[in-house]
Amino acid sequence: MNHLEKLKRGLSTVLSALISVAIGLAFGFIILFLLSLSTYASAGEPFTLKQVFDTAYNEGFLRLMKGCFYMVRRGLKTEISQAAPLIMTGLSVAFAFKTGLFNIGAAGQYTLGAFGALYCAIVLKLPWYLCLLASVLFGAVWGAIPGFFKAYFKINEVITSIMFNWIGLYAVNTLIYGGGTGAMYCAKTTKTWVIGSGVYEGTTIPNISVFLSEKPQGLGLYLKDTSIAIFFAIIIAIILYIIINKTTFGYEIRACGHSQTAAKYAGISEKRNIILSMAIAGGLAGFGAGLYYLSGVAEWQPLVSTSLPGFGFDGISVALLASSNPIGVIFSALFIAHIDVGGGYMNASFFPREIADIVSGIIIYLCAFMLLFKTAISKGISRVFGAKKELEGGK
């Protein structure tokens, strides 16, 4: 019965996430269809509904769904490189949720993490693993500050996190730009220096090719220049799962998340827990930025980065979709990265790539209803397995 109950809880969570995804995609298709229709209509030439449908399906929906596999040679690398930071920001938000905190500040912590990593790589020319460590530390500090305010002054972490998002973003931009002469800033490209070669040897995370034979085949061929960041992210997710569920520290933070008063009664230090879990959440987000920028797939652009990095906010969707389960985060991050890459492959004359964001937006919206789906599903499962049978099994 123990197992049946566990299975039921697990299955209903996964199924309800899948239902959210399915409904999100269905909405996405409807929007694609309407966009396709309006483009045809405004072209002024005669057209059939079948044409509209086919365009929406073949040049929009199918490519969205195919994600990186539409152009696997370049796509796979992009998708995997994006999934790694997404997993990390997802874990950041999920971990804070478990302690009853809403870490809307993952974006800011991510920004600081990026700064830490790039500073160590470009200015200090440290090896990549030390740069990664720096990204964790920078993110952790940025997370701990709202935690501190919450613990000692009871200021809601949502408010401080949002403020720290913007403070972080502009501070980092200013520091990097340095009036156009910043040490990390390349005036020609208006980005930070490209790391990974020349004087920056050893500052990037190694590529998957270190695991592969000389002449890789198939998937290996497409993945050989992708950094091993994704493995770090997956390993961290697994470690986090174990920490939350199998350690006394996890027991404490979950107790705080469920009931602060009972946790207090049990002698769990609420203040310590809040600061610590915000610091950990910040460190996770910062690490995500380290994984991304040290993979050498992108540079920071201090002049154009006037909105918060998307990975930070997407972390919220990733965590919600995964019901804050760290293992689930791996899959939901892969999914979000998948449709995001797919969004870029849609026929741009019909469909803006933001469709992918709309789909994930709808999915997040539906996540709020997940509890509803869950109860319905677990009722359904009970009916299938038979509550009566269960009774005979138990005592």
């Binding site: 019965m1 109950e5 350690t247 996890g250 009931s259 009972a262 769990i268 009566k388 009774l391």
Partner: protein
């Protein structure tokens, strides 16, 4: 017109692992007080929740005035004039008393809250029925007793005719209970019909017309109270004779375990101190009881003692070690177990499983922790043992989510957990609140055993029977002060009652009291 205002026929309700209600029939006559009796976990709250629309029965039908009705949610119940005071109150902590009462039945004028009219109605009702509340206080700041009066006012505010009381007296003082009984009789005279759950047989004998008895989810029968005795009822409920007194040998007391000196604790409700200059000691092999009417500083005192709240001044020593500067955890480690007053707020993490809750005060010891990891096997073993020893009943044993357990069984889990820690001092606040007579008998025996093994027990109880039965010494607390110390063998319930009500005071106190009232 049917003889019964409410009829629940052949109700069955299944939860994972347990048939909480198994073919139960309940018939409520108009204008009667109908008691519902059964052991902890017998299914009383479940049956009432079905009537109130919180649960849908798997089988069975409900009739009102002979007509079948479907009650899909509490709004339906409200429309049928059914109201319920829950075993665990369902109030919004950060709302005021008034806001809670009108919530869901707000009087509005062009979309704006008519708070003044509502306030008048509430004050009128509260005066008429003697339900004293402060409409402006926040619910999180008021005592459980007042919270309950708020719940009753909620029903009256909605003009309900069928009133369900799920263990209303568990949290009340003897005086308040008498008042409530009178209020219920008044309701019945007005033609309201009452369903009344209680574990206290005296109360059933005093007010109920009839009583339906459940055992392990099954219907055992309905009896007319005038035809039965207390003993008959307990026999019907648990299937054996229950002794209502505790056997206790005299034993020699040992060293001083707890020494409280000049302890003063601020109040959250008013500017005065909640606990004023309290001093006493508890020795090994002694059950010392703090008796008093609820709201006289006992809650604040215990919270200060256990570290949940800060003190103003004074000292607390455990075996000579000063505790006032120590954290909750350090106090617990120094040898203090604590059965808290509020099982939902402090006693349990409701969303944790039973086994996780059973180590809430011990998960950090080496028994359950190894290199930072939880030893799940040890936790399971511990849970299985306590469940067996304290007869904690639930649908799925160790992995039951604590929230789904019956109130009495939640209480048994907490009491079992704390007694089992075998610390030199057990601070027990209302340890038997909400337990059935059989379980009370057992917990009392356990507390006496604790004392006999040379430990100290500090009992805080509103229940005078319990106080008289269990304690070796009684301290009466009134308005934050200890106003008298008694030997239970040499005092009477009446004398205690007098002190508890502040009838006997020293001159100094009287003066202060007069000054305070003049100042108002």
């Amino acid at each position: 017109m049917s003889e019964y205002i409410i009829e629940m026929r052949n109700i069955t309700k299944v939860f994972p692992g347990i048939k909480a209600n198994d073919n139960i029939t309940l018939q409520l006559k108009k204008g009667e007080i109908h008691a519902l009796l059964g052991e902890n976990g017998a299914g009383k709250s479940t049956l009432m929740s079905v009537l109130f629309g919180l649960y849908q029965p798997d089988e069975g039908k409900i009739f009102k005035d002979g007509k079948e009705v479907k009650i899909n949610n509490p709004n339906d119940a409200n429309a049928l004039k059914i109201g319920m005071v829950h075993q665990h109150f369902k109030l919004v902590e950060v709302f005021t008393v008034l806001e809670n009462i009108i919530l869901g039945a707000e009087d509005t004028n062009m979309g704006l809250l008519e708070k003044n009219r509502a306030r008048k109605k509430v004050l009128m009702l509260s005066q008429k029925y003697g339900l004293n509340v402060n409409p402006n206080a926040l619910v999180e700041d008021i005592s459980v007793g007042m919270q309950q009066r708020v719940e009753i006012l909620k029903m009256l505010y909605r003009n309900n005719d069928i009133l369900i009381f799920d263990e209303p007296t568990a949290v009340l003082t003897p005086q308040e209970i008498d008042d409530l009984m009178e209020i219920m009789r008044g309701f019945a005279r007005e033609g309201k019909s009452i369903l009344f759950i209680t574990h206290k047989l005296n109360e059933i004998m005093a007010v109920a017309d009839r009583c339906t008895v459940l055992r392990k989810g099954k219907y055992m029968g309905t009896v007319d109270i005038k035809d039965v005795t207390k003993e008959d009822l307990s026999q019907m409920m648990v299937g054996r004779q229950v002794s209502f007194t505790v056997d206790k040998m005299d034993i020699q007391t040992g060293k001083t375990v707890l020494e409280v000196k000049n302890l003063t604790v601020p109040s959250k409700l008013h500017k005065n101190n909640a606990v004023k200059n309290v001093s006493f000691t508890v020795r090994e092999g002694e059950i010392v009881c703090i008796a008093g009417i609820e709201g006289n500083g006992q809650t604040e005192f215990v919270q200060a003692l256990t570290g949940l709240e800060k003190i103003k001044s004074g000292s607390i020593k455990l075996y000579g070690k000063e505790l006032t500067k120590l954290s909750i955890r350090q106090r617990a480690k120094s040898g203090m177990a604590h059965i808290p007053e509020d099982r939902h707020k402090h006693g349990l993490v409701l969303d944790y499983t039973l086994e996780q809750n059973l180590v809430l005060q011990r998960y950090w010891t080496n028994e359950f922790k190894k290199a930072g990891f939880i030893r799940s096997k040890a936790i399971r073993k511990h849970a299985v043992r306590l469940i067996e020893q304290f007869d904690i009943r639930s649908g799925q044993g160790p992995i039951t989510i604590s929230r789904s357990m019956s109130g009495g069984n939640q209480q048994k889990a907490i009491v079992g957990r704390e007694i089992d820690r075998s610390e030199p001092l057990v601070v027990a606040v209302q340890p038997t609140r909400g337990l059935d007579v059989g379980a009370i008998e057992f917990i009392h025996q356990e507390l006496v055993k604790t004392r006999d093994s040379g430990k100290a027990v500090l009992l805080v109880s509103l229940e005078l029977d319990e106080v008289m039965n269990l304690s070796d010494r009684i301290l009466v607390m009134y308005e934050g002060k200890i106003v008298g110390e008694f030997d239970p063998k040499k005092t009477t319930v009446q004398e205690l009652g007098l002190y508890m009500a502040g009838g006997k005071r020293t001159n100094e106190q009287t003066n202060e009291q007069t000054k305070a009232s003049l100042a108002k």
